[in-house]
């Protein structure tokens, strides 16, 4: 078996921090240091074999203190999941749920039911670290997916190719790779039979497979013939020779921005082909040197938001996160299309403005200065202390020396000449500005 390289360098707080950002939503205060003490293998294992779920932090609520209604109130679905990202002690499970949400991108804009989308979300979480084969079977029969990609419109007398095409193009093989247009048509025939019942006021319910609606004739898929049904359709894709290479490249790309070298690619494919299990492949990726020494990745908007809240020890306490996240380019349960979000487009000028507002909203509850007639805490007229304080508020993230220098230079320049009444009123303003600049710095936008 091809050996997959493992990182052999020091596993300090900074490396643990990167691991927690790539495999989760960033550290809580002190969490990176604790994880570093486990060493690389122990740290990765703690993520891939997490304890039972227990929520850490305040329960979520909307702006008026009311509990969330994720199935019934617009935006509460997004807040509900954001809350899980903030309070989970199983970050890799939650992160992989987000990966699968992008991989099998289903939008409520087409489904029209937050309840069905939440059910799909639970399914993705159930298979977060498990068998991709089983996940693919389950998602093929999932009601939200059946609506989204026309599974219930696919009949033996009028096959609909929507799901059959995306099953191969986006979920298992890659565009135009290893399949033909004839395979698309034949897969559509194999996938016939799913139906539902329309009930006034309730929408589509009672999703089921109806043998009478299924095309039972022989199909030819990937050059093989058989009276294939929907389970065969899935199995044929998973066992296709081009599936493992596609799976490895795609899963890798969520954690490491540059493609794997040939030896790593071959090793991961071999590992995956054993039983199509996600966990061992993930463990190898999370232990790989490229994760610790390679270039940084831009944090997706919800990861950035959840990480800020985790670092600030703040819960989900406002509905603003819905439109703020949307402004930065990511509204959960509403991927832009069936191909999911484009990880190379997080930082255009429009989305960056969204990130600026995100940082501002995250920091508003810890902003310094007088508030509603009450005097705020005294802020020393000391640039070093101000920068140190800003880092502490955001959970002491690792930043580059040049970023620290820039923040110090800004603080010094802003406090220069602040004498008399300015000596007391300027420091809190400068401290708030330094916190904002730190939160939107490249160091905190990337990991």
């Amino acid at each position: 078996m091809a050996t997959i390289p493992a990182y052999k360098g020091p596993f300090r707080t900074s490396e643990a921090e990167r691991l927690l950002w790539r495999a989760g939503f960033g550290p809580r205060r002190g969490q990176a240091a604790s994880l570093a003490r486990l060493g690389l293998d122990g740290a990765v294992r703690s993520l891939t074999h997490p304890p039972g779920e227990r929520w850490i932090g305040p329960r979520p609520h909307d702006d008026k203190g009311r509990p969330l209604a994720p199935a019934d109130a617009y935006g509460h679905d997004h807040l509900w999941w954001l809350d899980r990202m903030v309070r989970t002690r199983r970050p890799l499970v939650e992160r992989m749920t987000l990966v699968w949400h992008d991989w099998f991108a289903t939008s409520n804009a087409g489904v029209g039911s937050q309840k069905l989308m939440l059910a799909q979300n639970r399914l993705l979480r159930r298979y977060a670290l498990g068998s991709f084969d089983h996940l693919l079977v389950a998602i093929t029969a999932n009601p939200a997916m059946l609506i989204w990609l026309s599974g219930t419109d696919n009949r033996k007398d009028a096959p609909n190719e929507n799901y059959g095409r995306e099953l191969m193009e986006l979920f298992t093989l890659g565009e135009g790779n290893g399949y033909t247009e004839r395979d698309v048509r034949e897969q559509a025939r194999a996938l016939t039979g799913w139906t539902s019942t329309w009930k006034h006021g309730k929408g589509q319910t009672d999703f089921r497979f109806d043998q009478k609606r299924h095309d039972t004739e022989t199909k030819t898929v990937f050059g093989k013939q058989g009276a294939y049904s929907w389970r065969d359709s899935v199995s044929l894709c998973v066992h296709h020779k081009d599936h493992a290479p596609f799976f490895v490249r795609k899963l890798w790309s969520y954690f490491i921005p540059e493609p794997p070298d040939a030896r790593t690619q071959a090793g991961l494919e071999e590992l995956y082909r054993k039983e199509f299990e996600v966990r061992p492949v993930l463990e190898a990726i999370l232990r790989h040197p490229a994760l610790y020494s390679g270039p940084r990745m831009v944090k997706p908007p919800v990861v950035y938001i959840a990480g800020l809240l985790r670092g600030l020890n703040r819960g989900v306490d406002t509905s603003a996160w819905v439109w703020l996240s949307e402004g930065a380019g990511q509204r959960l349960f509403y991927p832009p299309n069936v191909a999911g979000w484009d990880d190379s487009r997080w930082l255009d000028t429009n989305a960056f403005r969204g990130r600026w507002y995100i940082a501002n909203t995250a920091l508003e509850k810890v902003s310094l200065g007088d508030r509603k007639g009450k005097k705020g805490p005294k802020v020393p007229n000391d640039p070093e202390a101000i920068v140190k304080g800003a880092l502490a508020v955001l959970g002491n993230p690792t930043i580059r020396p040049e970023t620290r220098s820039e923040l110090l230079a800004f603080a010094r320049g802003s406090l220069k000449g602040a004498t008399g009444w300015k000596a007391e009123s300027y420091p809190p303003l400068v401290a708030n500005a330094v916190r904002q600049l730190l939160a939107v710095s490249p160091d905190l936008q990337t990991c």
Partner: protein, 121 residues
């Protein structure tokens, strides 16, 4: 004095029977999704009291919503027209009973844009 008590009692009963914008304590939520030509509720029933009724247009046409209790004397409540991808919400105080919901754009109700919400005690 007795007439004043009768009048006040009648007035209170009328207010309780008529859905109106209300405070938001103990709030329930119901989402109404409109598409061509269906109207889907996020839940079939809700507890009486303050209900936030949210209308979301996932269709490609303009739609609106009318909500009317089936009890005697109930007045219809109309939500403004929504363009595709639009949303709006109102908090209503609903008393127990059945409420009919429909899109009042000509022809839409006949094509299927109607539903019933049960408000329980």
């Amino acid at each position: 004095m007795r007439w004043l008590v009768i009048v006040l009692t009648a007035a209170l009963a009328a207010v309780a029977a008529l859905p109106a914008s209300a405070g938001t304590e103990g709030l329930s939520f119901v989402q109404v999704v409109e598409k061509e030509f269906t109207l889907t509720l996020s839940r079939p029933s809700v507890r009486a009291g303050n209900v936030s009724l949210e209308l979301v247009n996932f269709g490609m046409d303009t739609h609106d919503l009318v909500v009317k209790g089936t009890m005697a004397g109930a007045k219809p409540m109309k939500f403004k027209q929504l363009d595709p991808r639009g949303r709006t919400d109102r908090t209503l105080r609903l008393t127990p009973g059945r409420y009919s919901l429909w899109c009042s754009i000509p022809g839409h109700k006949a094509k299927g844009m109607h539903a019933t919400l049960l408000v329980k005690k």
